[in-house]
């Protein structure tokens, strides 16, 4: 329960680094604002995107079946996986069929969620992540800290040292241009040698049976077009009805994510290349359960732009790893409790409910309202710490009884007025760690009112 607070406190100990992290993400949020404000119909686009997703979720079974039928017509093999384990087994069996041992992968939060890399490595299959940020954290053996900018928590000095060890770059080199060039050379070799390419999916189109993959680096395309086998892994919620709906979503995605007017590459895959093979794996892994929760189902609208992370004042100051979940930040805090309520019971509390996440969300997910609702469920199911629950029961009693309230207020004011500092400001008073308590006035407003107005 306190896990986020503990990890956040550790992150924030290095205040200069916290400020750097906060500023880096605020910079992205500012670029997003500018891009959004340049589009007069921005709010209308958000509403459209939200409605298209609502519609699609309400017909999801039909659209998935239509998608599969069309993809099959296109010569694509479609697989269905109920959970992460089945997804990993399916991917492995496709690779085995094609005798593929060297895999290049572009960014996919789904395969991250399923633990695909670890699974394949255990089967002695080499997996190279090819997005620069993903490659950095793969070499560093860390999970991503952000869904769009996986290595946003690392400084260029750390990347330089890592590349020096792993890619033999010059000792002490920290220039991003130089380091990126080194990665380019290294990854080109991997692309040329790969037996198969695995990508995530941004959008899947029911009408045409194709998938759309968006990148800035071009890594997904280098992988899929060079390797003889391409595999696209998608959650069931990635479906859109028709190609025309891409117009709405491509306008929103990159602007929300990084403030760019478009991702550099928006690739539409419908058929395998000549002589190649194309597979699509459709994954549930808890999504149908989330669909059955009326208060939480619209979290499935998420297009993984990361805007809620960039704007979240807590995420910016605690880092993605403090959430300990594949998808961190506000959206992660409403998705993960649906997967393991006990383990992630602290995340809905890692928020001030400021609501900025909901207002940047390009598909208008009511993220902060869902955080509030998860809190109710967490308390009901007994995952609140006992002391906190007791204090809330007590507060409920005091605040519904004017007499008790009056007495409690008086003693609270008395305490802050008359007790010596060491008795108030100690380790039990977390408020007082960095803040003074309010100076207690002699009389409450109610007392003042009785003296000054009641008589008249």
């Amino acid at each position: 329960m306190k896990e986020h607070a503990t990890k956040a406190a550790a992150f924030i100990k290095d205040e200069a680094r916290t400020d750097w992290h906060d500023e880096s993400l605020w910079f992205v949020r500012s670029k997003r604002d500018k891009a959004a404000h340049d589009i007069p119909e921005w709010e209308q686009l958000r509403e459209l995107a939200s409605q298209i997703k609502d519609h699609t979720l309400s017909h999801l079974d039909e659209y998935l079946e239509a998608f599969e039928a069309k993809a099959k017509e296109n010569g694509v093999t479609v697989h269905w996986a109920a959970d992460a384990a089945e997804h990993n087994r399916i991917v492995h069996s496709i690779l085995q069929e094609h005798n593929a041992r060297r895999i290049v992968k572009s960014k996919s939060m789904l395969t991250e969620e399923c633990g695909l890399n670890e699974y394949l490595e255990e089967q002695d299959i080499e997996v190279i992540d090819t997005d620069l940020g993903e490659r950095i954290i793969q070499l560093k053996e860390e999970p991503p800290s952000h869904i769009v900018m996986p290595a946003i928590h690392l400084k260029k000095e750390e990347v330089g040292e890592l590349f020096h060890q792993k890619l033999q770059t010059k000792k002490g080199a920290t220039d991003p241009q130089y380091l990126t060039e080194a990665a380019r050379q290294h990854l080109r070799q991997s692309f040329l040698q790969a037996d198969a390419a695995i990508t995530g999916v941004n959008f899947a189109i029911a009408e045409t049976g194709g998938v759309v993959v968006c990148t800035n680096e071009g890594n997904a395309d280098m992988g899929t077009h060079l390797a003889p086998l391409q595999i696209h892994c998608m959650g069931i919620e990635k479906i859109l009805p028709k190609a025309e709906h891409l117009g709405v979503f491509t306008r929103l995605l990159a602007r929300s994510a990084t403030g760019q007017p478009s991702t550099i590459f928006t690739s539409h895959h419908h058929k395998a290349k000549e002589g190649g093979a194309m597979h699509i794996v459709i994954v549930d892994n808890g999504r149908t359960t989330q669909l059955g929760r009326p208060d939480f189902r619209n979290s499935l609208k998420c297009i993984r732009c990361g805007a809620c992370m960039n704007t979240c004042p807590i995420y910016r100051r605690s880092g993605g790893h403090s959430y300990d979940s594949t998808v961190p930040g506000p959206i992660g805090s409403i998705l993960t409790p649906g997967i393991d309520l006990k383990k992630y019971s602290g995340l809905p509390f890692a928020s001030t409910l400021c609501g900025s996440c909901s207002d940047v969300c390009p598909v208008k997910i009511d993220i902060h309202e869902q955080l509030y609702k998860w809190r109710q469920i967490i308390a009901e199911e007994g995952h609140l710490p006992a002391a906190k629950k007791q204090s809330m029961i007590m507060a409920g009693k005091v605040l519904s009884r004017p007499g008790w309230y009056k007495a409690a207020g008086k003693s609270a004011r008395w305490v802050t007025r008359w007790l010596p500092r060491p008795l108030i400001y100690n380790s039990l008073n977390t408020w007082g760690k960095a803040r003074e308590l309010p100076k207690a006035p002699k009389e409450s407003f109610q007392e003042w009112y009785r003296k000054n107005r009641s008589a008249s």
Binding site: M149, V159, T289
Partner: protein, 190 residues
């Protein structure tokens, strides 16, 4: 097995039917779309030039790429130094400049639609060190809605909107041009 299970779970759990909204045109009246295409492209790091400023395509390339290098062209009016039909995709790794025709340009984001049919090899626009797209000016549309109305995404097995040179900002949010794909994008408007 899992398919039936997943579909059944969806049928059981999905909400009441919700309507599919119509997408309006969002026509902004006074936009000069060619000019807008130029300025958004410039912001993306793309170089946009007019074919009219050069004698022909070949002299354009000579001027734009003084160091030239190995050219792979899919256009009939420019000789390709690489025999694309007879090359394996990975043999294209030493192509310096790929010259390809674009089908539709988008003013709001500087993206150009390119399909498999335009590339011969899907990997060509990505694997070449530099990419040149030749686009008729009258094929520029206002926004992505119009773009999707103009194209058929499944006309060929693969199609892509390209909106600039390959880039990354994965190291400390520093923008670096030339990540895994082409290091530069030049658009020649005809």
């Amino acid at each position: 097995m899992s398919k039936a299970h997943i579909l059944k779970a969806i049928q059981h759990n999905k909400p009441e039917p919700r309507p599919l909204p119509d997408i309006p045109g969002f026509e902004s009246s006074s936009m000069d779309i060619v000019q807008a295409f130029g300025s958004t492209s410039a912001q993306n790091g793309t170089r946009v030039v007019n074919a009219a400023d050069f004698a022909d395509l070949e002299s354009a390339l000579r001027t734009l790429f003084p160091d030239k290098g190995k050219i792979a062209s899919t256009l009939p009016d420019l000789t390709s130094e690489v025999n694309l039909q007879n090359s394996a995709p990975d043999a294209l790794v030493d192509v310096d400049i790929a010259v390809i025709g674009g089908q539709v340009g988008v003013a709001e984001n500087g993206a150009v639609w390119v399909t498999e049919a335009d590339c011969v090899h899907r990997v060509l626009p990505f694997i070449a060190q530099h990419l040149v797209l030749v686009l008729p000016e009258d094929r520029i549309v206002r926004n992505m809605h119009e773009a999707y109305a103009q194209i058929k995404i499944d006309d060929t097995g693969f199609g892509v909107f390209i909106a600039g040179p390959s880039k990354t900002a994965d190291i400390e949010q520093s923008l670096v041009i030339g990540a895994q794909g082409a290091r530069s994008l030049t658009i020649i408007l005809t």
